[in-house]
C-alpha cells in the first residue's frame, strides 16, 4: 500500500486554493512548506513589531481548508509555518480549530530549531564559521536577528508516533516535511539510506507546490493546460521507496518527465550529493519513467549516510534600502534614463546624503540580463530607470528618494513619468550567515509538545 503525500504550499504567499483539489484526490498527509530563506527575514520583521508573530500568517487560511478533512480522519497536516515562533503558530492552529467547531484534534509543536538564545554557548562550543567565506563567528556583524537550525524529519516522526493530527514546526528542512510521514508509515530505519534518499527526493519534488506540475516551466510553458487551475502535486510512495508523482485529475497543469526534472535540480548544488539533515541523497541515481496521463514513476534512488551537522542560518542587520522608478519614452529614452541616474546621484551627493551602495537598472534594456544581453544600437521605445540605494540610516535612505522628485521639471526633457511613487518607505536589509552546527549540540534541545484541542 502506498502512502499519498500532497504538496499543498510552496512558499509564504502561496494560495490555499489548491488544497481542496488535493483533499478531493485523496492524500494521507498534506504537507505545507512555508519557509524560504527570505521568509525568515520577513517573519523576523513581523516578530520585531509583535512578539506573538513570527509565523506565516496565512496558516489559518490553509487550516480552514484542511482541518475538516483532518477531523474526519482523511488526512493529517505537517507544516513548517511556525517560522521563528512555532508556539504562536500552534496557538493560531488551535484557535482555527475552535473557530471551525472542531475538537479532539491533536496539535504537535516541534521546538529546538531556534538557536538564537544559545548563540554564545554554541559559538564557544563550535566555530559557527560562515559556510561560504569561512569567516569566523567573531566577524559576525551582530547582533543576530534570528538564528535557526534546519532540523530533519525525526521530531516530526516522533510527533506522528505520539498521535498528532497537525504537526507545526519552525525551520525544518523543506523535504523533511514529506520524508517524515513516509518514515512513520513505512517504518523505515534511520540508516536505511536509500529509502531516506527516496523520501527526500520525493519531498524535494513536492516542496515547491506548482513548480513540478507545470508552473515555472521553461520551453513549452504556453501549452500547459489551464494554467489558471494549476494543481499541486501528489506522490504515492511505496514501502520500497518507489514513487509515483501525479496530480489531481480534474485540474489543469501537467506532470511529465520535463516538469519533474525541472524541479529535481531547483535550488540544488551537487545533485549527486544533496545534503539534507537525514541523508545525503544522490539525485543522479534516480530513474524517471513518464507513464503518460500526468504520471511519472521514480525508482532507484540511492543515499549515503547523513553528515554530523545541521545547516543553520543566522541573520544580521545590513542597512536600509530605498528605491524609485521612473519611466522614459522615445526619443532618446535610454540616454535620458542614463542621464537622470547620474544627475540624481550627483544631487544626492550635493545634499550630503551618504549612500553606501547604488544599484541602477534600465528596465527594457538590460536590467535583468546584465552582461548577457547582446549589445544593440536599436533604440528602445520605452525605458524604466530603477534606482536602488543602501544607507546606514533609514532616515537617510528616505531623504535620498526625495532627490529624484525635482527632476520632473529640472531633469532631461519631457518624457519622464511615474514620479508618483518616488518616495517609497525604506526597507531593512538583512545579511544572511549560513553555518554548520554539530547535531549533538542541537538534538538534546529538540522537543515535541502535543496538545489536544478541547
Amino acid at each position: 500500500m502506498g502512502v499519498r503525500v500532497g504538496g499543498g504550499q510552496g512558499f509564504y504567499g502561496d494560495t490555499p486554493a489548491a488544497v481542496a483539489g488535493l483533499l478531493e484526490a485523496g492524500v494521507d498527509y498534506l504537507c505545507l512548506e512555508a519557509l524560504a530563506e527570505l521568509t525568515l527575514a520577513i517573519l523576523q520583521k513581523d516578530r520585531q513589531k509583535d512578539e506573538t508573530r513570527g509565523y506565516t500568517r496565512d496558516l489559518p487560511s490553509y487550516l480552514r481548508a484542511a482541518l475538516p478533512a483532518v477531523a474526519d480522519g482523511r488526512t493529517k497536516v505537517i507544516t513548517n509555518a511556525g517560522g521563528i515562533n512555532p508556539a504562536s503558530a500552534a496557538r493560531a492552529a488551535i484557535d482555527t480549530a475552535h473557530e471551525l467547531g472542531l475538537s479532539g484534534l491533536r496539535v504537535a509543536t516541534v521546538l529546538g530549531d531556534d538557536v538564537m538564545p544559545r548563540l554564545q554557548e554554541l559559538a564557544d562550543a563550535t566555530d559557527l564559521a560562515h559556510l561560504e567565506s569561512g569567516a569566523p563567528y567573531r566577524e559576525f556583524p551582530g547582533p543576530a536577528l534570528f538564528a535557526s537550525a534546519y532540523l530533519g524529519a525525526r521530531p516530526i516522526v516522533d510527533a506522528l508516533a505520539a498521535g498528532a493530527d497537525v504537526v507545526i514546526t519552525g525551520r525544518v528542512a523543506d523535504a523533511a516535511l514529506f520524508l517524515a510521514p513516509l518514515v512513520h508509515e513505512h517504518g523505515w530505519a534511520w540508516d536505511d539510506w536509500d529509502r531516506l534518499a527516496a523520501g527526500t527526493l520525493v519531498g524535494h519534488l513536492l516542496e515547491c507546490s506548482g513548480q513540478s506540475a507545470g508552473g515555472n516551466l521553461s520551453r513549452d510553458w504556453w501549452n500547459v493546460p489551464r494554467p489558471w487551475d494549476l494543481p499541486y502535486p501528489i506522490a504515492d510512495v511505496d514501502a520500497d521507496g518507489t514513487a509515483l508523482i501525479t496530480k489531481p485529475a480534474s485540474s489543469g497543469g501537467r506532470v511529465s518527465f520535463d516538469t519533474v526534472r525541472h524541479q529535481l535540480l531547483y535550488e540544488v548544488h551537487d545533485p549527486a550529493a544533496y545534503l539534507s539533515p537525514d541523508v545525503v541523497a544522490d539525485f543522479t541515481s534516480a530513474q524517471f519513467i513518464d507513464e503518460g496521463n500526468d504520471r511519472v514513476r521514480v525508482t532507484g534512488v540511492r543515499g549515503a549516510p547523513a553528515t554530523p551537522t545541521y545547516k543553520a542560518l543566522l541573520a544580521h542587520h545590513a542597512g536600509w534600502a530605498g528605491e524609485t522608478k521612473v519611466a522614459f519614452s522615445w526619443p532618446e529614452a535610454r540616454e535620458k534614463a542614463t542621464a537622470t541616474a547620474a544627475i540624481f546621484a550627483e544631487r544626492v551627493g550635493q545634499a550630503g546624503l551618504p549612500v553606501a551602495e547604488w544599484c541602477f537598472e534600465l528596465w527594457g534594456v538590460d536590467a535583468l540580463g546584465g552582461p548577457t544581453v547582446p549589445a544593440t544600437t536599436a533604440e528602445p521605445p520605452e525605458v524604466v530607470l530603477r534606482a536602488a540605494w543602501r544607507c546606514d540610516e533609514a532616515s537617510t535612505a528616505a531623504l535620498v528618494g526625495r532627490e529624484m522628485v525635482p527632476l520632473t521639471l529640472s531633469g532631461p526633457p519631457a518624457g519622464m513619468t511615474g514620479m508618483g511613487r518616488a518616495g517609497s518607505r525604506p526597507s531593512e536589509l538583512l545579511g544572511i550567515w549560513p553555518t554548520l552546527i554539530d547535531k549533538d549540540l542541537i538534538d538534546p534541545h529538540v522537543k515535541v509538545v502535543v496538545e489536544a484541542v478541547r
Binding site: A36, E37, L38, A41, L131, E132, N216, L217, S218, R219, D220, W221, W222, N223, F257, D258, R261, H262, Q263, L264, L265, Y266, E267, V268, H269, D270, P271, A272, F283, T284, S285, A286, Q287, F288, A315, A318, A321, E323, E357, W358, C359, E361, W363, A367, L368, G369, G370, P371, T372, V373, P374, R386, A388, W389, R390, L429, L430, G431, I432, P434
Partner: protein, 130 residues
C-alpha cells in the same frame, strides 16, 4: 559547424537561490544535445558569460539521468535575497540569461527549428474582458 544560442537548440532552464549563490539547471532534450552541451558549455564559458553580474566562482555538475548540467554561481545575487538591491534578488531570470550563450553546433543540430510561443488562448481571454 554553426553558431547557435542554447535557446535556439531547445535547451530548458530553471534557476534558484541559496544565500548569495544562484544555481542554474540547463536541460537537453536527449542524449545527443546533452553530450554537446557537456562538451561546449564549460565552467569558463559560463563564468565569462556572467562576468560582472556573478562575482565569485562557477561550478558545474552533471545529471545524465535527466540530461542536465547544473551550474552553481557563487557571489551571484548582490549579497543574497534579503540583502540585495537588485530587482531580481532571487536570480529567477538567470536561467533565461544562460540560454543566450552561443555555442558551436554541428549542422544537423543547427537545422533544428523550435516552436515559437503561442499564447492565442491568453489573447482570447483578454479580449473577453471589459
Amino acid at each position: 559547424m554553426t553558431t547557435r544560442r542554447l535557446y535556439d537548440l531547445g535547451c530548458g532552464y530553471r534557476s534558484g537561490d541559496k544565500g548569495d549563490i544562484s544555481n542554474i539547471a540547463l536541460f537537453a532534450d536527449g542524449p545527443e544535445l546533452y553530450e554537446l552541451i557537456r562538451a561546449e558549455v564549460t565552467v569558463e564559458r559560463v563564468q565569462a558569460h556572467f562576468a560582472g553580474l556573478v562575482r565569485g566562482r562557477v561550478e558545474r555538475y552533471e545529471a545524465p539521468n535527466v540530461w542536465a548540467l547544473n551550474f552553481v554561481l557563487h557571489d551571484a545575487l548582490g549579497g543574497g535575497a534579503p540583502r540585495s538591491l537588485r530587482s531580481d534578488n532571487l536570480g529567477k531570470t538567470l536561467g533565461g540569461a544562460l540560454v543566450r550563450l552561443e555555442i558551436e553546433v554541428p549542422d544537423r543540430l543547427a537545422a533544428r527549428i523550435m516552436p515559437a510561443p503561442d499564447v492565442g488562448w491568453a489573447e482570447t481571454i483578454l479580449e473577453r474582458l471589459v
